[in-house]
Symmetry: C2
């Protein structure tokens, strides 16, 4: 009898926030590895905000997940069968394994994991794409200078916490924004931010801006953009001349659909946004980390030891079981997680 695997398929495209009905748990036989392919049994899979974008049928950095296709995502696991000289059973690897208990993938698309790099889950968060995203965005576009002020939202998440900790190490004042008093306490106590504001405590961007101004008495030099919406609106008038804005996400706008056409925030207009770029000489750079994998070895070399020494800390939220992945994902999009959201599969 053929051994079975489970996967989560995209059952239908969401309009607005995804709902349970957009996902479908399916069972199928584990495929056989073709030439150059390996079968990986996934131990942990990653849940990330970008996956919301893949559910839409809109032009974005990557092709959308087809309806009926397996939800995309990174994962780490053990090679259980190999038809490639690159891997042997028992090796551990990271790759785009999808939302599934097993994956059949070309060996050359997998990255072998160094067992000395720390726990397996680190490859999904602090030393994986989110941590790398924070490091690359800050170093390549943020260009931090000691004494400057940086603001980052989703402060306890895997990107925000990396950005904030690196900026602190570089001598900046770091102000986080997070959802809820508990996360704010973690940002300052665990991650060493100078201050953290609870965006849920503010009804409007104007109110948030008033307290943000107090927390950033010298203005904002770097706004690491990963949420969009109210935070962006609060931040823009506080940006200093020659400010830098790396843009790696806008989770608050993802659910607005393809082009966010109906999602204009009160008070934040296209001309207003564009004018700020001009009159403050801002440098705004959109990026996705998959275009910059050439820098990954540099990232590991610089940040790996800091994680090992505890100089850079990280938090993980671990859900259990593939069947609970959709709920964990939907919760994450609403800020239900505190640290890196992971699903444990075995």
């Amino acid at each position: 009898m053929t051994e079975q695997m489970s996967r989560i398929a995209l059952a239908s495209r969401p309009t607005g926030a995804p709902e349970a009905e957009n996902f479908r748990l399916e069972t199928q036989p584990i495929p056989t590895a073709g030439e150059g392919e390996v079968i990986v049994k996934t131990h942990y899979m990653s849940l990330d905000p970008y996956m919301r974008g893949r559910m839409d049928d809109a032009k974005s950095y990557a092709a959308p997940v087809p309806v009926g296709g397996t939800m995309e995502g990174g994962g780490v696991g053990e090679v259980i069968a190999s038809n490639s000289p690159l891997f042997k059973p028992g090796d551990y690897a990271f790759g785009m394994l999808g939302w599934a208990t097993h994956a059949c993938v070309p060996a050359k698309e997998l990255r072998k994991l160094d067992p000395n790099m720390g726990p397996l889950t680190a490859a999904l968060g602090v030393l994986g794409m989110p941590g790398f995203t924070g490091w690359h965005g800050l170093t390549a576009y943020g260009q931090p200078k000691a004494g400057e002020t940086l603001v980052v939202a989703a402060a306890t998440g895997p990107v925000g916490s990396m950005v904030g900790q690196l900026a602190k190490l570089a001598g900046l004042r770091v102000v986080g924004i997070a959802g809820g008093a508990e996360k704010c306490a973690i940002a300052t106590d665990t991650f060493g931010f100078d201050a953290c504001l609870d965006h849920r405590a503010y009804e409007t961007a104007t109110e948030l801006r008033a307290d943000l101004k107090d927390a950033c008495p010298d203005g904002i030099d770097i706004y690491f953009e990963n949420v969009g919406g109210k935070v962006l609106e609060a931040v823009m008038p506080l940006m200093n001349n020659f400010g830098r804005i790396p843009v790696c996400g806008m989770i608050s706008w993802y659910n607005a659909g393809g082009l966010g056409a109906g999602a204009s925030e009160a008070g934040l207009t296209a001309p207003g946004l564009w004018r700020s770029v001009l009159v403050k000489f801002l440098s705004v750079n959109g990026f996705i980390i998959s275009n910059h994998f050439d820098r990954y070895p540099d990232f590991l070399k610089e940040v790996g030891p800091k994680v090992a020494s505890g100089e850079i800390r990280f938090l993980e939220d671990i859900a259990e079981g593939l069947e609970n992945a959709p709920a964990a994902f939907m919760s994450m999009l609403k800020g239900g997680n505190t640290g890196k959201q992971i699903v444990k599969l075995i």
Copy 2:
């Protein structure tokens, strides 16, 4: 009897497009040069879109002109009295002389003009701030590569024509946008653009975009932003991944007042604009040329000979008489000029 001079004062702040009543022609005695100062008799003064911003009482790159103050602007003229070792009567100089027949300015704020650099007016246009703006924006942020496609509006103006000609010399496909068939013909015939679209022929950004798409079969790699509004809205969906957008102006939005808050274009929302930056990995850089004067010698060295040889061409619109400066300025803001707008004072 003390010799008299004339100046144009800001009589009141405009709401929307400036009107004649916002300006006042005044006469006063020519001041005496203090220690380190010189008196310049202005021969030509420059009119530029940025001056509209100075009329508003809003945070911008520079302090607003106070009500009752002389309208700001660059000019070239002859030194007629000097209280500085740096200049002697008979020298020619460029400086921020204001909208006035004479100016009393610190000698160290003036730049002596090389009589071999070409006609005096070149210091206001092709080899002055507008030309320098085009060169700096293109080279520093546009990063042109042969075979790419560049779009620039106000194609026959002193910034747009510089950008387009430099890009052609670098091997790019260059598509201009201008107001009226006559200007479009000048863009292609005089300045060598590959194509030029008349934005007045399109009611909506969508219509403009359709023809722009045909004119840019490989998409747009560089959009040199100097107008905002409908053109930006038409361009954004056509931008290629890794596109660059130097932002040096947005004349179509200047009249919307301080923050352009009421000027949202139909269809172009802040989230839509921001999302394009993210999903296409755009690099957007706002700048004003006065922050980059350190590169001016490089500009003159590279572009000066090309202007002298005729490889880079330029057009000037010359109005006569200080009293006609407000009308020429108001006309320019509506696209009434074809080339660099200058006022001849003597």
